[in-house]
Symmetry: C2
Subunit: 190 residues, 2 copies
């Protein structure tokens, strides 16, 4: 399907000679791999952050509005607007995790679920996937049960406002945008 | 623009009481922040991976095909299809970095550049942005100068194939998809 430039050969997987783990970073387990570049036969050490798979949910209400979650994020140091999502529990299937995260973070449930596929949050140094799900006709069935380490507000956004919020940068988590792009046309105006 | 559920107050920024850094992870500098949740006044420690901003480029040839980069990625352990991109050098402006990465990774240059905005790779634990750029009418002007730690092949993909490659998962780096979504309609078929 693709045309090569210069007929360059397709890059091959590198050979892993060995690995060592670093101290856990709670969210991640650092791993240093010793690898050989097959193009040059030279050895390199590269970092991988081992982490479980993630999931997030494009959740639409019966009115067709998007369920959003506002929370303070420690990396950006800002209050962000995102869609519900989180980390898979050990042994949990990603569809179950999607239902659990939607319920925990928004108090909503849905009977109409569709799998939107998976992306790599960052294949350069993370070994995990983020699974995207669509939940339609969501209704509020439970109260929010926030733990002491959480401070979340649930909002609904008309779909037209979602597109403009992505364009303006008000919504700017890359994994949120990746999920939304499977349901909404996010192209910027020419 | 958004409607609140339960009139929940907007979450406020957490107060940072202090920070300590961990050993460098080359790509990242781990930082542990001691924070207070304003909703509960309880204290928590949270990890941030400090990292420079990134950039990537939706680069179209004069024929309107997308320039792609194939390379082995250490996190996923696979050969991926991505768009050119990388880390800003210290003090480098992101527009200059976009031009540099396009040239280094594909040997192409362009005279038609458009800024597509920035996203947060992951605001939960990273403090950086990824800037998206569009380069149109790209032409091959230089040879590839790969260093010993690189093994990259440059490909061109018709735009219709790009959309199907995202849908099929052949292209699945979230930051690549985020950039592409500003130029292409990536919605899945109903």
């Amino acid at each position: 399907m693709s045309r090569s430039q210069d007929d360059a050969p397709a890059p091959r997987p590198w050979t892993r000679l060995g690995s060592r783990h670093g101290a856990s970073l709670v969210l991640f387990r650092p791993r240093w791999d010793r690898l050989v570049n097959p193009r040059t036969s030279e050895e390199f050490e590269r970092l991988v952050l081992e982490t479980p798979d993630w999931v997030n949910v494009v959740a639409l209400t019966a009115d067709g509005e998007l369920l959003c979650v506002e929370q303070y994020r420690f990396g950006s140091g800002t209050v962000t607007v995102e869609i519900p999502g989180g980390v898979l529990d050990r042994g949990e299937e990603h569809g179950a995790a999607a239902r659990r995260e939607l319920l925990e973070e928004t108090g909503h449930t849905s009977e109409r679920w569709r799998y939107l596929g998976a992306v790599e949050p960052n294949p350069a140094f993370q070994d995990n996937l983020c699974h995207h799900w669509l939940a339609e006709g969501c209704i509020r069935t439970h109260a929010l049960g926030l733990d002491p380490g959480e401070d979340i507000a649930v909002r609904t956004l008309p779909v037209a406002d979602v597109v403009s919020a992505v364009g303006s940068g008000r919504i700017r988590h890359s994994l949120v945008i990746s999920a939304l792009s499977r349901v909404l046309d996010l192209r910027l105006p020419e």
